[in-house]
């Protein structure tokens, strides 16, 4: 007997993501899924954003890593709530892993939650976590061809940050060509060239983030 199913394979993840989303909304908490390849600057961006919003916004962080708690320790030094998820070899966070970690986060005390995904441009693109916005960091040393190599990731994000622009004098990266490629694939995307080292562009990124928090949608 044949049974018509026509159900998305990630349906279970999607349902769990919606539960996470309800939990965020119930606590008036804005959640950002932060993705990039390894070393593009996710933790540095969180630290820069924290510095910029200190005393204005109550922020928490969930750190996703294959192993170690180095990033969580770096952020914990800043005195904000941080929870580490070790995926034990897994290449991405999924909604269920996040849901478990959320039990340890003081959701009601926070306004903004960064979820630092595992450094990877492929798998995290598939798995919704229940976040309000998806943000991708690309960095100058990675080269300007990444939108063509990892199209799904570039298709699914709300903002792309081009980090390490302080290295532009030394490396070949065509910001215009990169931005054209990203906008061609994703018409709603916002692009911010930044440097977490010099602080350039962080103001613009933070003001976009604050504007999005006002209308989580």
């Amino acid at each position: 007997m044949e049974i018509k199913v026509v159900k998305d394979i990630l349906d279970a993840n999607e349902r769990m993501a919606q539960r996470n989303r309800k939990l965020f909304d119930g606590n008036n908490l804005f959640a950002v899924d932060l993705m990039s390849s390894p070393g593009a600057g996710k933790t540095s961006l969180i630290l820069q954003t924290l510095k910029n919003l200190e005393g204005k916004i109550k922020m928490g962080v969930i750190e996703g890593d294959v192993s170690s708690s180095l990033d969580a320790e770096a952020i914990g030094k800043e005195g904000i709530p941080v929870v580490q998820i070790n995926t034990g070899g897994g290449c991405h966070l999924d909604a269920n892993m996040l849901s478990t970690a959320l039990d340890s986060v003081p959701l009601g005390e926070l306004q903004l939650l960064f979820i630092e995904n595992v450094g990877n441009l492929i798998c995290p693109a598939e798995f919704s976590l229940g976040e309000h916005r998806r943000v991708l960091i690309s960095s100058i040393p990675e080269g300007d061809d990444k939108p063509f190599k990892y199209p799904l990731m570039f298709h699914t994000v709300d903002a792309v940050l081009i980090n390490k622009i302080d290295l532009l004098p030394y490396l070949k990266f065509d910001i215009d060509a990169f931005s054209r490629a990203v906008r061609g694939m994703n018409q709603k995307v916002e692009i911010f060239p930044i440097s977490c080292t010099t602080g350039e562009g962080i103001e613009q990124w933070v003001s976009w983030l604050l504007s999005q928090m006002k209308r989580p949608g």
Partner: protein
């Protein structure tokens, strides 16, 4: 690597459907996988054999329909297949591209006994 969790999700979905139909055995699973998902069919097969052991889906045939990434140029309207990560319109060389197909990742149907 995400094939492991994707295969587990797929298997859970199939077993759920089979149980709803009060079936004892799943003979065949028809899957659809789009080119943009980056999901490798051979990996899914490998994990499926491991994960399905001892379940009603043990030994089921996996039929995978691969959907190529299809795009439409927003500037000139040309429909084309994206090959080798070339996201340039073959007619006008533009980069203003809309994805028409390739994001699929679903179980189309199953055959049960």
């Amino acid at each position: 690597m995400h094939e492991l969790s994707i295969t587990q999700s797929m298997l859970n979905l199939v077993l759920e459907e089979a149980e709803k139909a009060k079936a004892n055995k799943v003979g065949k699973i028809n899957l659809v996988i789009g080119g943009m998902t980056g999901v490798v069919g051979e990996c899914v097969r490998f994990y499926f054999d491991l994960l399905s052991k001892g379940t009603p889906a043990d030994g089921a045939a996996l039929a995978i329909k691969a959907v190529s990434t299809q795009a439409k140029c927003r500037d000139c309207g040309k429909l084309f297949e994206v090959r080798e990560f070339d996201w340039t319109c073959p007619r006008c060389s533009g980069n203003n591209i809309e994805v028409v197909a390739g994001k699929e990742l679903f179980v189309e149907s199953i055959e049960v006994e």
